[in-house]
């Protein structure tokens, strides 16, 4: 046990110089940047529930992928499942109506059930299920890091290339359609970008904690700033801080006191804690200085456009500029 105890004396710089910690840190950094960019539109278009659906839908893909190609099959399986699900959920959202959110709920539990049923047919059911659900941030290999980087870059590129259409659609759905932008194409591109980000994050953070990456940073950023230009930098910075602190904390915790810690869970909990702090500050600050401007935000545009989840929208106008 001496080598492990010797590690406990390392400072942060030495800890992150360890190859596996370095790779975990890079993974978190890549995911933070991608989530900041894609999360902007998840938040503007109120796609939190759709993201949750995509997160679940990736699970059967992972199961089938690992059954066919072992560890190498995980990413292709997840990517195929995620893109199919993105198309499916975009169609459900498009058809809209009252039933859209219930339909998403049914489809997401159905796809997850499919994954569970497929896993339960295999050997080592319980351990495999847990590995897929909880992720393994510290055992990301160099090859997997490259895969994650490529998939995340693809997600960011899709959003950057279509950003004008996406913004127009988010703030003025009817205007965008009248100007000749095809809403279904924009929705589908955004859905696929979110799906790719889910695929990038799923191996590191696990099937369910990816949802935190997609929703929490931007929600916190929108609490912290009212400036549009600052939203993405803040949404990138928050998971980065939570990631560095969480990785270091779980390293100290597991090496120093010998506990087994899920680093992904620590990172997500710190991220949620940052969100909580932002919410408290906003509540206290909001009580002190009542809002002066009430600009119409993308949430209101979303009401007219998508329809789904509209009842879940905040009754108050959003402030975003």
């Amino acid at each position: 046990m001496t080598p492990i105890h010797a590690l406990a004396d390392f400072g942060p710089a030495e800890v992150f110089a360890l190859p596996f910690m370095w790779r975990a840190l890079l993974t978190v950094a890549v995911l933070a940047v991608a989530a900041g960019v894609v999360g902007l539109f998840v938040s503007f278009r109120e796609l939190e529930f759709v993201s949750d659906g995509l997160v679940h839908a990736v699970f059967p893909g992972l199961v089938v992928g690992s059954a066919i190609g072992g560890a190498a099959g995980l990413l292709p399986g997840a990517a195929i499942a995620a893109i199919l699900a993105a198309v499916l959920f975009t169609v459900i959202e498009r058809r809209g109506g009252i039933g859209a959110d219930a339909a998403i709920a049914v489809v997401l539990t159905g796809l997850f059930s499919l994954g569970v049923v497929l896993v339960s047919r295999q050997e080592g059911y319980v351990s495999q299920l847990q590995e897929l659900l909880f992720g393994r941030l510290l055992t990301v290999s160099a090859a997997e890091l490259w895969q994650i980087a490529i998939v995340a870059t693809a997600a960011v590129l899709i959003v950057l290339v279509t950003r004008r259409a996406q913004l127009y659609r988010a703030f003025d759905a009817a205007g965008a359609e009248a100007a000749g932008l095809r809403p279904f194409a924009a929705d589908l591109q955004l859905g696929i970008a979110v799906a790719l980000l889910v695929v990038a994050g799923v191996q590191a953070l696990g099937v369910l904690m990816v949802i935190a990456l997609l929703t929490v940073p931007m929600a916190a950023a929108r609490l912290i700033t009212r400036g549009f230009a600052l939203l993405i930098p803040i949404a990138i910075l928050l998971p980065l801080v939570a990631g560095v602190a969480g990785l270091w904390l779980s390293f100290e915790w597991s090496v120093g006191s010998g506990a087994t810690v899920s680093p992904g869970a620590v990172v997500v909990l710190l991220l949620v804690a940052l969100y909580g702090a932002a919410a408290v500050v906003r509540l206290v600050g909001g009580a002190r200085s009542p809002r002066r401007t009430q600009a119409a935000g993308p949430a209101d545009a979303g009401l007219a456009g998508v329809g789904a989840g509209a009842a879940d929208a905040s009754p108050e106008p959003e402030e975003c500029r």
Binding site: A259, R282, A310, D312
Partner: protein, 294 residues
């Protein structure tokens, strides 16, 4: 009573419960709330498993905490309910994961907490489900008209001088209690499948609103029992099997409606560009949606 009969009884009761709670979730669009709540009960189960107390009690307590948390978060300016659900979901699931990972091999039934195990339900779990069913039925029989009024015309409801918070309290309470009692059988991830799935299918099929609860109950009960049978017949995880069967029934319901109304829909689509606000939906649907959005 054999474990198989107990599982069948539990799934039957949950199917009936889907007629009540599922209908509320579907009509009031609380699906994401239900999904987030069910996922986030996970740490409650882990803590109570570590201490050795009743898992269901831990999940129920934690669900209560989370409902309060979500209500508080949705009061933060600029934060919709979707955001609150997403945050609470992330928080609960990460907390459960951390607690489970800190205590490996201490008998935390992680996979039972997450995907359920209908064949391992205890008589107390079945009793709890039955109690929730009876209480929810009693409460909803008393408050059904008012809930319906608020669901479809919230402005008229407020204008008529009714208070909104009792409706929200009843609806949230019934949904949360139903999601929690579904946990032992289908787990934190698939919990909503048995509750929301049948009601969503019933909404597709029902010609009138009053038909949704009975159709949902029939679909819920038969889906649960078919899923249970399939899991024994093919040797697959029972929770997943039930979820899959109910999803299949939802898809069949969609298919049935598409076949029945196919001609009408095709004609509407062929008539060229339609105003963005109508988009192939019937007048009644648009009116309902407008009422729900207002």
């Amino acid at each position: 009573m054999s474990y198989f009969a107990l599982a069948a009884l539990e799934l039957t009761l949950l199917g009936l419960l889907s007629g009540l709670a599922g209908t509320l979730i579907v009509l009031r669009r609380r699906s994401f709330f239900a999904v987030a709540l069910s996922h986030a009960t996970f740490p409650g189960g882990v803590v109570f498993a570590l201490v050795g107390w009743n898992l269901l009690l831990g999940q129920a307590l934690f669900a209560g905490v989370l409902v309060v948390l979500m209500t508080l978060l949705s009061r933060v300016p600029g934060q919709g309910r979707q955001v609150a659900s997403g945050v609470v979901l992330s928080f609960g699931f990460a907390l459960g994961t951390l607690l489970a990972s800190l205590n490996p091999g201490l008998g935390v039934p992680v996979e039972a907490l997450l995907v359920g195990s209908p064949l391992a339900v205890a008589p107390t779990d079945v009793a709890a489900t039955g109690a929730v069913l009876v209480v929810a039925l009693a409460i909803l029989v008393l408050s059904w008209r008012r809930i319906l009024f608020h669901t479809f015309d919230p402005i008229g409801f407020a204008a008529s001088g009714f208070r909104v918070w009792p409706v929200e309290l009843v609806v949230t309470g019934v949904i949360a209690a139903s999601v929690v009692v579904a946990m032992p059988a289908v787990g934190a991830i698939l919990g909503v499948a048995v509750i929301v799935g049948p009601a969503a299918a019933a909404r597709v099929l029902a010609p009138w609103l009053e038909w949704i609860p009975p159709i949902s109950a029939v679909i819920g009960v038969s889906g649960g029992l078919i899923g249970l049978w399939a899991s024994r017949e093919f040797g697959i995880a029972a929770g997943g099997s039930v979820g899959l069967v109910i999803t299949a029934m939802f898809l069949l319901a969609l298919l049935a409606r598409a076949v029945l109304s196919g001609r009408v829909g095709r004609r509407a689509r062929r008539s060229g560009p339609v105003p963005a606000t109508v988009k192939g939906r019937t007048t009644a649907e648009v009116r309902d949606a407008a009422a729900a959005e207002a």
